[in-house]
């Protein structure tokens, strides 16, 4: 599903080159549940953003669903993200002026997939995540755990192949965080490819594969 060959990423601060990723080689296959672990500043989020087609590499080869990513223009990239990826962020990023069900429907507006009765599907997803009585609440009326579950429902509405979660439990207490991780495990068992980025060693046990990033390189890659 994802092939990274010698991926490098650096930023320029004035004259000084700041190297974030220093040659990443990685393959992620369909159906995997990957935990990408590293301390803050290790480059794990940058790597996730590149794999999520949100950021661009400086050097190397990157294939996403057998397509060379650097051949894609803005429109094609947006289409790829819409069709294949569901994002979950640490800060949830729900839109404040929309209620739960409308937030879940956001990807539908930009979608060219054939999805009949999207509202019904959104409601079913929310029900599945125990939010049946929260469908018409605004984000401000929801707890952190509820907001994150709405965000996960949003990531799923368009039937993506890959779920990319950046510190999804970072803003939650450990019990709620555990529930969210269980949810990812459940989705993985349903066949979704899941990639969770975290700095929290306690989450390592949820995944089937653990990749450790240190200082811009992969230091450990264990499949359990």
């Amino acid at each position: 599903m994802i092939i990274l060959k010698n991926i490098k990423k650096s930023y320029f601060i004035g004259e000084r080159e700041l190297s974030i990723l220093k040659g990443i080689n990685l393959r992620i296959h369909k159906g995997e549940f990957v935990i990408l672990m590293g301390v803050s500043g290790s480059g794990k989020t940058t790597l996730m953003n590149i794999m999520g087609l949100l950021d661009t590499k400086t050097y190397g080869e990157f294939y996403f669903m057998d397509t060379r990513v650097e051949d894609l223009n803005d429109e094609a990239l947006a289409g790829f993200r819409n069709r294949h990826i569901g994002f979950v962020f640490q800060q949830f990023f729900l839109l404040p002026y929309l209620n739960a069900i409308e937030n879940v429907l956001i990807p539908i507006v930009y979608s060219d997939k054939e999805i009949r009765h999207p509202r019904e599907k959104a409601r079913q997803l929310l029900e599945r995540f125990n939010l049946a009585d929260r469908t018409h609440n605004r984000p401000a009326q929801l707890s952190g755990g509820e907001q994150q579950r709405v965000a996960i429902a949003r990531a799923l509405i368009n039937d993506p192949d890959l779920i990319l979660a950046d510190e999804p439990t970072g803003a939650l207490d450990s019990k709620t965080g555990g529930e969210i991780m269980e949810l990812f495990r459940m989705l993985n068992e349903d066949g979704k490819t899941v990639l969770v980025v975290t700095h929290d060693p306690k989450l390592a046990s949820y995944g089937k594969r653990l990749i450790r990033i240190e200082d811009g390189t992969i230091s450990e890659d264990i499949t359990t």
């Binding site: 993200r81 404040p96 002026y97 929309l98 409308e102 429907l105 507006v109 997939k113 368009n158």
Partner: protein, 407 residues
Amino acid sequence: MGLYQKISQLREFLEETLKILYYYKSRVAFSFSGVALGILSICVIITTIDGANKKAYEIFEALGPDSIIIFGGSERQRTARERLVTLTVSDADMLEKVGGVYDVLRVFSLRNVNMKYKDRKWQTQVAGGTENYFYSFKWGLQSGSFFSNEAYRDAEAECVIGAKVYEELFKGEKAIGRVILIGRLPTKVVGVLNERGGSAGGPSMDDRVVMPLTTVTKRLANEKRFLSVIRLKTNRDVDATIEDVKMVIRKNHGIPEGGEDNFTTRSSKDILQFVSVISGSLFLFLGTASIIALVVSGFVLANLFYLTIQERKKDIGIRRAYGATRKGILMSFLFESVIITIMGGIAGVLLSVALQGLFERLFGIPMEFSFKVVFFAMIFSLLTGVLSGLKPAMKASKIEPIEAIRG
């Protein structure tokens, strides 16, 4: 992708846009009211100019394109408030012999004459006219009859009253056959004229009493020599006739070569010209006002959008992550801006309809609503929306998803 889905997407998009506008409602209200005011002025301009033109055409039609009006005093004398009554009965007699002239109406008017019926009082002008007065004006009656030739010959105390005078003195009661006091002369009302409305910008034509010229000059004014107004109809070219008329009167008044006229001539053409001057100044005044209102509200809109873009960076990032293209972001911001201005435009049009009465009293010109008004209002609203939304929308579309999410 099916049509069903397209429609459902469009619905979600529209609903989202409305929710965004509602969420930022205080900001939206500023731009909205600015655009509404601007469009209101544009509507007033268009309808008033149309109304003025229609009115002018009506007057032109009523006067007849072949009419020439002559009254005493030159333009300069009128502004200097010098003696204005210079036209004489002998002028009128001479003018009957001018080539092409087929109708000569002589009028001697008195201003601010007191009249009374029962305990109701009114003050207005009395026009003493020859028998052809109503024919010349193409003026019909709503009841009664014109004064008779006998009444004219014998200077009888008979009058025909305008609609306004009828309203003030009789208030809907029967007027025909009743006697009113004009000055100190008891006068029988024989007819009530049709309502005619105001002449362009001038006083209402309905506020007058018409009597036989003989009665006015012999019994009200004791005037044997002078006339206030002479109206002619010609079957020759109007301008050519005016040349002849001027020559005849100047000779009759003994004005030397190069001397200043002590009278003024007007034709229907002048009235049309006068109206076009009025609508021109209206256009200038209101046009400036409306353009300023639209430009200011456009700037306000653009600035508020800039502010919201900073605040909505995460919003943009999320949409980009979930598949919105640059173009998609651009369009959605532009759409928001256009929705605001179009709604403002609609409010402006509705406001102009609601305030029609007020404006008509203010400018003294009836407003003429048509499809054209709505069309221009929408074009201007759309233009304001696109022009003021374009730059902020372009800025929003250039934000990279990663940059937006990082905050």
